[in-house]
Symmetry: C2
Subunit: 136 residues, 2 copies
């Protein structure tokens, strides 16, 4: 089957550097972080403002793409599940979805609240929240 | 910047074949559709059941990746916006997010309700709804 090429449009800049200690959910204490975008996508950012809630799509570059089943939340006492029923980063195409709130916009740098992605994670896309605006 | 390779894990099989007449939102009459997955990801599907609401990630293979600003909803009477504030398929990395309900599971074929993706659209991933289960 044909493959497709993702071109990262920026990187996460965050104090979270270690997957083993990073929070699993934003409400477990995910910090504010900065999104540093490429200058080439500046026009695509132009309508984002502080207060906007958006979905950030990232490439979970430390994931294992060969994993198809996992213990949910890494808890070995729970039975294994297919990864498509979980949010494990380990999956055939490790795309991360993160609901965040924009707190500042400074040119190609955007600050967000509640991002559990690790420092250096490549950014793929930014979208409005699901269900608010049409897909096409 | 390094690029990443997406490997489609299946295809949408739908009566929707024409982007110009397809609904913009599920509630505009998106039909049921089948998702035909590769046998190689069968284990990753194993915990999905009828009644589950999931987020389907697709590759919008007919999108124009060079577009950075659009008229929202294609309405030329509205001022242009940066694509990251819209759900336009035209964007640097054209990943589609679709909230759907599973209505049947038959091995590597899964039927869903309310999918506005076109016939043949490559499938990238399936995830639980945002906010229900942890990301890591």
């Amino acid at each position: 089957m044909t493959t497709f090429e993702l071109r990262p449009i920026g990187r996460v800049v965050s104090a979270l550097t270690d997957a083993s200690t990073a929070p699993r959910q934003p409400d477990e204490g995910a910090p504010s972080a900065w999104l540093h975008f490429e200058v080439s996508v500046l026009d695509a950012l132009s309508s984002l403002s502080p207060g906007d809630e958006v979905i950030l799509l990232t490439w979970l570059d430390r994931a294992d793409r060969s994993v198809l089943r996992v213990h949910p939340r890494g808890d070995r006492s729970r039975p294994m599940e297919g990864v498509f029923s979980t949010r494990s980063p380990h999956r055939p195409n490790p795309i991360g979805l993160h609901r965040v709130e924009i707190t500042a916009v400074d040119g190609t740098r955007i600050q967000v609240r509640g991002l559990e992605a690790l420092d250096g994670t490549p950014i793929l896309d930014v979208k409005p929240l699901l269900g608010e605006i049409d897909e096409r």
